[in-house]
């Protein structure tokens, strides 16, 4: 990772949107930064954690993160809180509260949305939160604007006493482009100090009623600011068409219509009617190009201005230059240009993501799949309803990949911590299946603790498996409270998972080695036939974090009966080569794993001499 703090004023660098956000916030005088990791937002805090003089932390979840940023803001320092789009759902309560109390030091909330769902469970347009919370939303369109807009975002936050939502998307966050660096602003020297002001910070109904009037006036003032802010720019063009665009959609608009006039909105809420009307009057035909929802388009139409957009541009998925071009062709805005795709491409085998070789989650899914209840459930689904099977509710993390065949290890996956609630709901509804909730360590800390308390309190009989790989893996190995490693990589106090679970009131708690198939199968068999609430902690370090083992497994083809049992593990290292089962030594995790030799019924897999010599 590039050391951003060393970058000097006046220099030019190739930075990702997330790096630019981190550096812009630092140069704008940010003192406190909080986040929960989530693609595509993670690198913002990862970079900030390396800046000296800034307090940065991975918080338990986004709600806690935002409340910490609010508290710090109340003391007069500038704060940043970053998260992925669904994180803002978790922090929505806090966001609306931050709106009503307002701020003291500038408070910028970064929401990194994921159109196209590169690594998300849903697609949502978080600009709607700005309207709901009555706060401004700022949208960069490249890394330079991401950097520059951070200064303005903090200034706006303080001038208008409001949190500011900075909305980025995967393509902005994860693209690199050139950034000219301004350098550190003067703001840095502030000291934290809190002055009680109950009418602003204590939201009793009597005080909150007055604050509601304040925030209604605030949004009117911001609407006036929107008319002349440097965040919004009119780019002159030729021809009769004018485009209103924001974020990455602006770049696609420029690519497809290089000569059109553009109103580029860096602040998409609130909108200045005068600004939009003047632009609309300067062109014959007005179109809005934006990713996901018709957020700008509907506001413009609400002003009584004729505009088109989502009638030809898709509302779902990530846009691209060719999607904008092909949509425009269909709408008659572009000449039809023929483009043919190579024909045979469709026949190529797909490469779906899978659990890594040596993944500590694999054994548990294998063990669950081997129980008679699960076999019954999987073989009968989806043709007929079954009773007395095994239902596995899942959660958010790498282990969601356990849903793919042949593991068939998850029946639900919705949002952080939902595995436990889903299992409880099915139980209380009265299914006769045994219910197992599978949740990762980081997700359990994020949203599982309160659900577990609910299970204890409401006398549940489900089994909860905590897959403890001792990191937040999917987002690239960040710390969380149970790892005891801070965002800056320092050792800190770790929350002990088994003590926490027992402390909440679960009596049946076991901790297992993630690579011990026999123990996993026994524990799963015991739990699924018991009528007591139980927790199984399956512990094993995330594969990419472990030192490589060279004791790669090999198949003795003279013993192997090609029964394909080892393929039930869905390990990328186990393959068919020339009609025989073969383990790719480049991929095999060796002694870090060893699951395949445990499951082989004829002992054909092991570490043989030739392999050791190699």
């Amino acid at each position: 990772m590039q050391d951003l703090q060393k970058i000097s004023a006046g220099s030019k660098h190739l930075l990702s949107g997330n790096e630019a956000i981190a550096l812009g916030a630092y140069h704008a005088g940010m003192k406190v930064a909080t986040a929960y990791p989530g693609t595509p937002s993670t690198e913002i805090l990862e970079n900030i954690a390396r800046f000296e003089g800034v307090y940065a932390e991975w918080s338990t979840n986004e709600k806690v993160a935002l409340e910490i940023a609010m508290g710090a803001s109340y003391t007069g320092v500038r704060c940043l809180c970053s998260m992925k789009h669904v994180g803002l759902n978790v922090a929505a309560d806090s966001l609306l509260s931050a709106s009503i109390t307002g701020v003291n030091g500038g408070l910028v909330v970064v929401s990194a949305d994921d159109p196209g769902m590169h690594s998300s469970q849903n697609e949502q347009d978080n600009r709607h939160y700005a309207r709901l919370a009555k706060i401004p939303v700022i949208e960069p369109y490249d890394s330079q604007s991401a950097y520059d807009f951070m200064f303005l975002a903090f200034d706006i936050s303080e001038k208008y006493d409001t949190p500011v939502l900075l909305r980025t998307t995967t393509r902005i966050s994860h693209s690199k482009s050139l950034v000219c660096i301004k350098g550190l602003s003067e703001v840095g020297a502030r000291r934290a100090s809190f002055t009680p002001n109950p009418e602003k910070y204590v939201m009793l109904p009597a005080f909150a009623r007055k604050r509601h009037e304040v925030i209604e006036n605030r949004i009117l003032e911001l609407r006036e600011y929107a008319q002349n802010t440097p965040l919004n720019q009119v780019l002159k063009g030729t021809g009769s068409m004018g485009i209103i665009a924001n974020g990455i959609a602006f770049q696609y608009a420029k690519e497809v219509f290089p000569d059109a006039a553009v109103l580029r909105l860096g602040m998409t809420y609130p909108l200045s009617e005068q600004l939009v009307r003047e632009f609309a009057d300067s062109v014959e035909k007005l179109i809005a190009i934006e990713e996901l929802d018709p957020f700008i388009e509907e506001m413009v139409r609400g002003m009584g201005i004729e505009v088109s957009g989502k009638d030809f541009i898709p509302i779902t998925g990530e846009l691209s230059p060719e999607i904008v071009a092909s949509s425009a062709k269909k709408a008659g805005l572009l000449e039809d240009v023929e483009s043919e795709e190579p024909a045979c491409r469709a026949e190529l085998p797909l490469r779906p993501p899978s659990l890594c070789p040596g993944c500590p989650h694999r054994g548990l899914f294998y063990a669950l799949g081997k129980t008679p209840r699960r076999i019954k459930k999987v073989t009968s689904a989806p043709t007929k309803p079954t009773a007395g099977g095994l239902v596995i509710t899942g959660d958010i993390g790498c282990y969601t990949l356990g849903a793919y065949k042949p593991l068939n290890g998850l029946d639900t996956c919705a949002c952080m911590g939902a595995s436990i609630g889903h299992a409880l709901g099915m139980e209380k509804a009265g299914v006769t299946d045994k219910l197992v909730a599978v949740i990762g360590d980081s997700t359990f800390m994020h949203s599982g603790l309160t659900a577990l308390a609910n299970a204890v309190y409401n006398q549940s009989q489900i089994t909860i498996v905590i897959l403890d790989n001792m990191t937040t893996a999917m987002t690239g190995h960040q710390g969380h409270p149970a790892t005891g490693i801070s965002a800056g990589g320092k050792k800190t106090q770790a929350v002990n998972l088994e003590n926490a679970v027992r402390g909440i009131g679960v009596d049946e708690v076991v901790v297992l080695d993630a690579f011990d198939i026999k123990a996993l199968r026994e524990a799963v068999a015991r739990a699924t036939e018991s009528d007591k609430l139980s927790v199984i902690i399956v512990r094993g370090e995330c594969a990419p974090l472990r030192a490589r083992s060279f004791a790669c497994r090999v198949v003795d083809t003279s013993v192997c009966t090609r029964c394909n049992t080892c393929f039930k593990l869905a390990c990328p290292a186990i393959q068919y080569k020339d009609g025989n089962v073969y383990i790719d030594p480049e991929l095999c995790a060796g002694d870090n794993c060893g699951l395949c030799d445990q499951v082989c019924p004829v002992g054909a897999i092991g570490v043989f001499d030739e392999a050791v010599k190699e």
């Binding site: 024909a343 899978s354 990419p544």
Partner: protein
């Protein structure tokens, strides 16, 4: 100048992001505008990875449109074929002959396509295809880790960037203790395409 677009494809763990960082850095050192964007998806290791790099006087979209890439740079041959629709008709392709079977192939459900099948897909789009056994060539250096830089060397012959900026970019992006072997790998890659037969 006309903008130049390079699409880099392969699988997680091959050093694709580093390769595209070096290319983008070299373009910046040339004084051009440059944008790059990576699509990694949910894969930690072994999943499909794509990187778009665009350079020129002014670059708008970081994403290369279908049919917009001047060069397709494939570090894994199946992934190269899968993304060849990005290539301009008549464009050039540098493809490493390494093949990593996806899980669908490993389990025997699907077959990994033969080289000729892969090349015929690519040739529907490409004018020139350089099909190189990079792993074999780079293993002469005693370290296959420099494969991505070897292939960058091969790519470099097709782009109007000086050897000087390539060297500066490599020195900026690689740790100093492995720079020598990577510079050797880069030169080997250059020689490979300069002398190579086109398939």
């Amino acid at each position: 100048m006309q903008n130049i677009s390079v699409l880099i494809t392969g699988i997680g763990g091959q050093g694709i992001i580093l390769a595209s960082d070096v290319l983008a850095d070299a373009a910046m050192r040339t004084g051009w505008d440059v944008k790059k964007t990576d699509s990694i998806g949910m894969a930690q290791r072994g999943g499909s990875v794509i990187s778009h790099v665009r350079m020129g006087d002014v670059v708008s979209s970081p994403l290369i449109p279908t049919g917009g890439a001047d060069v397709l740079f494939g570090m894994e041959k199946l992934e190269a074929a899968r993304h060849c629709h990005f290539l301009k008709p008549g464009g050039q392709a540098v493809i490493n002959s390494y093949g990593a079977p996806p899980l669908t192939v490993a389990t025997g459900a699907k077959k990994y396509p033969e080289d000729e099948a892969i090349l015929s897909v690519v040739r529907e789009r490409a004018g020139k295809v350089f099909f190189i056994d990079g792993l074999k060539k780079v293993s002469k250096l005693g370290n296959t880790r420099a494969l991505n830089v070897f292939l960058l060397g091969a790519l470099s012959v097709l782009l109007p960037l000086t050897e000087q900026v390539w060297q500066e970019a490599l020195e900026a992006k690689l740790p100093s203790k492995i720079i020598q072997i990577n510079l050797q790998a880069f030169s080997l890659g250059r020689e490979e395409v300069k002398n190579a037969g086109i398939r």
